[in-house]
């Protein structure tokens, strides 16, 4: 069984600054972390490999320092890592990103399962997973909360919905995106971390994956960010509600109705 886990290194979202020209995030000076949702994908990949044998590879598209996140994945048991990094990939929206990752997965070859985290905490779009499935023309299952069964030819998963869940079975190869309910990601050990520092991580460029230049990077992105601004400031007047409990409740109900909460 060959599994590929797609991960992303993201800025820790609490401080964000935007380059006014490219409208993209200035990545200097902000802590970079492995996207928290991806830790569940990595853990699932490692667990499935441990259970069913085979190989689990972690793949990421990003700047050179994204290598640190790939090593983090190796330190919890991933077999090997590949970094897609080149100026030409820069400025990609989710369409171009999923295209690039799909080409890399094709290049890796004979992949049975692709696992992605639900979404990245900087973009928050949750589009790349299904996007990869579409570029590869594979089946997909999103919001997977459990992998119930897997064989060389099919996978059975539990998908989470707002109103419950469903169980579905699909033939491999396929793409799944996973939610936090699926497992508890292990924390890297010092031993694992020291071992991961010794691993070689190849860097792939557009030529290595046979990418169509018109489909990658800023130019390959159908969407463009044309403006960014801070959210509207919170207004500083506090409206006080006092009185009997019933009066307070009535006032609050009015406010909740006003805001379509109820």
């Amino acid at each position: 069984m060959k599994i590929v886990v797609c991960i992303k290194q993201v800025p820790a979202t609490n401080d964000a600054k935007i380059d006014p020209e490219t409208k993209r995030i200035i990545r200097k000076g902000i802590k970079a972390i492995l996207n928290p949702f991806d830790t569940y994908a990595v853990e699932e990949g490692v667990q499935l490999r441990d259970k069913f044998g085979g190989e689990v590879i972690v793949l990421s598209m990003g700047p050179p320092k994204a290598e640190a996140s790939l090593r983090e994945a190796i330190s919890v048991g991933i077999d090997r890592a590949i970094l897609l990094s080149d100026r030409a990939f820069g400025g990609s929206d989710t369409w171009a990103t999923s295209y690039t990752l799909a080409k890399a997965i094709k290049k890796i070859g004979d992949v049975d399962l692709v696992i992605c985290g639900k979404q990245a905490i900087d973009g928050d779009t949750a589009q790349v997973g299904p996007g990869i499935a579409a570029h590869l023309d594979w089946l997909q299952a999103t919001y997977v909360m459990a992998v119930e069964e897997i064989s060389s030819s099919s996978i059975r998963v539990k998908r989470m919905h707002e109103d419950g869940y469903d169980i579905c079975e699909m033939s491999l190869p396929a793409v799944i995106t996973v939610v936090k309910d699926i497992n508890t990601p292990r924390v890297p050990s010092l031993k694992g971390r020291l071992a991961s520092n010794k691993c070689e991580i190849p860097v792939w460029k557009p030529d290595d994956i046979g990418a169509d230049i018109s489909k990658i990077g800023l130019d390959g992105s159908p969407t463009r960010v044309v403006k960014t601004q801070p959210p509207p400031p919170r207004h500083t007047n506090t409206k006080k509600i006092e009185g009997s409990s019933i009066e307070c409740a009535q006032s609050l109900l009015r406010e909740l109705r006003l805001r379509s909460v109820i």
Partner: protein, 265 residues
Amino acid sequence: MINHIKNKIYHVEVLPPKQDSEKLEKDLEIFSNKYLRVMNSGYCVCITDNTMGLLSFQGTEMIEELDLPVIPNQVMIHLNTFHTKDNLDNILDICKLKGIRYLLIITGDGSERLPKLRPSDVGATDVESVTSVELLKYINRKYPDTFVLGVAFNPYEPEEHELKKMERKIKAGATFIITQPLIERNEVVDRLLEKYPKIPIFVEAWMSKKLYLLSEAVGYEIPENSEFDPISTLKMLHKLYPGCGVYLSLLGFKTQYHLIKDTWV
């Protein structure tokens, strides 16, 4: 634990390297040096557990990988509720094996990346969330007569609430207490001392000049004071709390370490 107070043995807090350290080998060396220096001084090294929820390596991992010597009376590790059960049991097994006796049991700080013990993991049926109380009970049940367990006390939180929590912690098997950092006399701590005259209590001394960091750590505004001198504050704490031990956090190993040999009189 009382011997630490009688013999003027400082608790010196040392933080393990963070998981995202870009110079891990260097940080490991720095940690080793600090650890050994504390050992050689006769003090007790206290190793933290993912302080502030910032992913770091474990004290037990550090001791194992770096082959650091354990003198049972001189090593304490923090242990919080943000572990998987397997992970927790593993840490406790290593402690038992290596002769690490002193454990500071705290609820701890969580984060996105850290797992959390479930009530069923520690055999607790009456709570929604695992706190230091349930962890204390679990350790005493699983490893009777193996460890000396301590707990934290926060005089900056509502007093009644904190004292009630302390009662539960003592009942669950805590035998020593470490307070949050003090920079002056604290009436709530005074009352704690009155309530538990027989239990060894350690006041924490904030050894950094940066008081705003202390505000962040305890969650309440502590007025910035450019006159704040950690060493003289430490001497004052000894005078105010002669029956207590002292836990040193953020001790400057380069600038302050040599000064503390004369402070506990």
